[in-house]
Amino acid sequence: MNPLILTQHDSVLLITLNRPKARNALDNATLQRLAEELEAAANDASIAACVITGDVRFFAAGADLREMAEKDLPATFNDLRPQLWARLNAFPKPLVAAVNGYALGAGCELVLLCDLAVAGDNAQFGLPEIKLGIMPGAGGTQRLIRCVGKALASRMILSGESITAQTALQAGLISDIYPVELCVDYALALAKTLSHHAPLALQAAKQSLRQAQEVPLQAGLIQERQLFTLLAATADREEGIAAFLEKRPAHYRGC
């Protein structure tokens, strides 16, 4: 069975994790397919943004524990996974997580890697690795603490307990909660809103937002200004400002 189902909605690519029997566990093969599809989407001018979702009960339940158990220290040391995660992280267009049900372990780390996240009202987010004698290994500690702060991140990671959609909303892990049955619709609508914007501006803004977590403020401000300046050379900037002044919709060409 194909671990991913791809459907395109106008210029939005919807990727649905499709391993229901494995509760959408993110084994290496699935991560690899995901990386390949995102790399293809990055090079496809007809795709402006991407939504990742699971099923109604499981966004993604974690890594594949059998696969993990098979790896001793040397095998884990040389695991392909960090490179696969880096490839997902390199996707230059907006990435939206539409989370229904459980987003646990690697599933939660995938949500944290996305630019935007919305959730169904049944969503649960957790990093339960500690219960298995391990710890998050794909950004869980680093991205969660930057996202929700020390108190909640430490509580989640050290206790292994999940949080509800409501708590995730208050903590800033997600931006909206919807009824489960409408979550993907709303995520697609949100992605569609983004997709109407100038591609280079979107890409630059995403890059600048990412930089905020990498560099000190002064360096970040300089990089932000450089990207802002770079956009001054684009035809789409000219078009965007002209369209606004002429009170008409803008037609961007991605240059």
Binding site: Y178, P179, E181, L182
Partner: protein, 261 residues
């Protein structure tokens, strides 16, 4: 003897608390039996209404105090444990159940028995029934949602009077104060409950479940938030087959045949 009788007839699950010699008070076995039946009610689409009632002369006397015999020389018991593990999950599941729950209060409802009944979607009481917030008389606090429900149902003044004094509130007074839906004469009680349950079991269950959720959401939402909830739920309701059936039956001037989906 079974502590809980569970009967499913024509879409109605009737749960009869069945410890009549103990006024149907709760012990662990009764909690476990209720939890099991609720799982069935949650999963089985053919069940479209749940009725909770009591066997014998009472509805439910709350926690069985025989299980709470405090040794005066021993350490203090942790009552929070059973609230957390047994009562709170029960209250949450009844509230979250996407089908109507009727409390058929046949006699005295005391303590958690009273607060549990008042938390159901539709409360019908027989004329001999009464509600007793007995907690304060033992030095305890109304639980199973009591302190949340009472101010919302009765207003602050009556909530405080009921909870602090712990007196008996007659079914008639409860109806007059708007705490419950209806009081029915004892002789007509079972027939009225059955008729109501049968009616609800033939209604558009999916839509009723959405209404129930919307009303719960309204307890904490602002108007603007609730308008968003209504928009979303209407969107979902519009996709249901019962909505199509309802409209076509109305236009064809025939009675609708709802499937609950």
């Amino acid at each position: 003897m079974e502590t809980l009788l569970c009967e499913v007839t024509r879409g109605v699950m009737t749960l009869t608390l069945n410890r009549p010699d103990r006024l149907n008070s709760f012990n662990v076995a009764l909690h476990q039996a209720l939890a099991k039946c609720l799982t069935q009610a949650e999963q089985d689409d053919s069940i479209r209404c749940v009725v909770i009632t009591g066997a014998g002369r009472g509805f439910c006397a709350g926690q069985d105090l025989n299980d709470r015999n405090v040794d005066p020389n021993g350490p203090a018991p942790d009552l929070g444990e059973s609230v957390d593990k047994l009562y709170n999950p029960l209250v949450k599941r009844l509230a979250a159940l996407r089908k109507p729950v009727i409390a058929a209060v046949n006699g005295v409802a005391a303590g958690a028995g009273a607060t549990l009944a008042l938390g159901c979607d539709i409360v019908i009481a027989s004329r001999q029934a009464s509600f007793v917030m007995a907690f304060s008389r033992l030095g305890l606090v109304p639980d199973s949602g009591g302190t949340w429900l009472l101010p919302r149902l009765a207003g602050r003044a009556r909530a405080a009077g009921l909870a602090l004094l712990g007196g008996k509130l007659s079914a008639e007074q409860a109806e007059a104060w708007g705490l419950i839906w209806q009081v029915v004469d004892d002789s007509e009680f079972s027939a009225t409950v059955e008729q109501l349950a049968q009616h609800l079991a033939m209604q558009p269950t999916y839509g009723l479940g959405l209404i129930k959720q919307a009303l719960r959401a309204a307890e904490t939402n602002t108007l603007a938030q609730q308008l968003d909830v209504e928009r979303d739920f209407q969107r979902l309701a519009g996709r249901s087959s019962d909505y199509r059936e309802g409209v076509s039956a109305f236009l064809a001037k025939r009675p609708p045949q709802f499937t609950g989906k």
